[in-house]
Symmetry: C2
Subunit: 141 residues, 2 copies
């Protein structure tokens, strides 16, 4: 059971943004984490489109958080970046499992998933953002 | 976030086994669920190797649960069938994320994962097994 890499990178980008008291670029985040610039560009596009980041245009432009740290909830963020939480076939939209109506596994898995997302909902980016000193350390390497 | 199809099928096979008061074949489970026989054969091999099912050889042979229903815990089963729970890079064995030492996301995700698996641990196959009438219904189609 994994989150997709896209969610991992989105979380890292926002944690970076949260420790960065200035505009930042996709390039610098990709370099800081040692990950693909192309991947990070896709992540930045989605985070901008979904209202987590704001893009400032122009020569000295860049990205900045679009909301206060405390308003970026971990559960909502992961729900925005994961394509689904279809743990098993009947949680998705192409369900053909013939025991769906009487199945007791569904509610057990739904309960576990709810416990997972409830735990996430107790965190915001205020708890997770990198310290400004950590952002500076990443930029030195 | 998904479980792998292998886990889904392993759960279904054991739920079937739990409602079946006799030896059963891979063929009949695959037909009952309308899924690939090849997939179900792999599932049966792993479930036999890991002590969930017992294979009885011979002409009138087949498979049967190797443990009492109440001894098959949902958490242990999912842990046996999932390759990992590497939600993000640093949960896996190829971690190269440079913020690992100071990262606060790890513990938030670990807490959520723990809530997930703890919820699963409250169920055994005794709660999830198909009713014998449901197994008979599946076999009629």
């Amino acid at each position: 059971m994994r989150l997709i890499v896209f969610s991992d990178y989105a979380l890292r980008m926002l944690m970076y943004a949260g420790g960065c008291n200035r505009l930042f670029t996709i390039e610098e985040v990709a370099t800081a984490y040692g990950v693909s610039r192309t991947h990070m560009m896709k992540v930045a596009n989605v985070l901008t489109r979904t209202g987590y980041l704001k893009a400032v245009r122009g020569r000295s432009g860049g990205l900045v958080l679009a909301k206060p740290l405390g308003k970026i909830n971990l559960r909502e963020l992961v729900e925005a970046t994961e394509p689904d939480f279809a743990l098993v076939e009947c949680f998705g939209c192409n369900n053909r499992c013939p025991i769906t109506r009487s199945c007791k596994l569904q509610s057990a898995l739904a309960e576990a998933l709810d416990a997972f997302t409830s735990a996430l909902s107790r965190y915001t980016l205020a708890d997770l953002a990198l310290a400004p000193a950590e952002v500076r350390r990443l930029n030195r390497h």
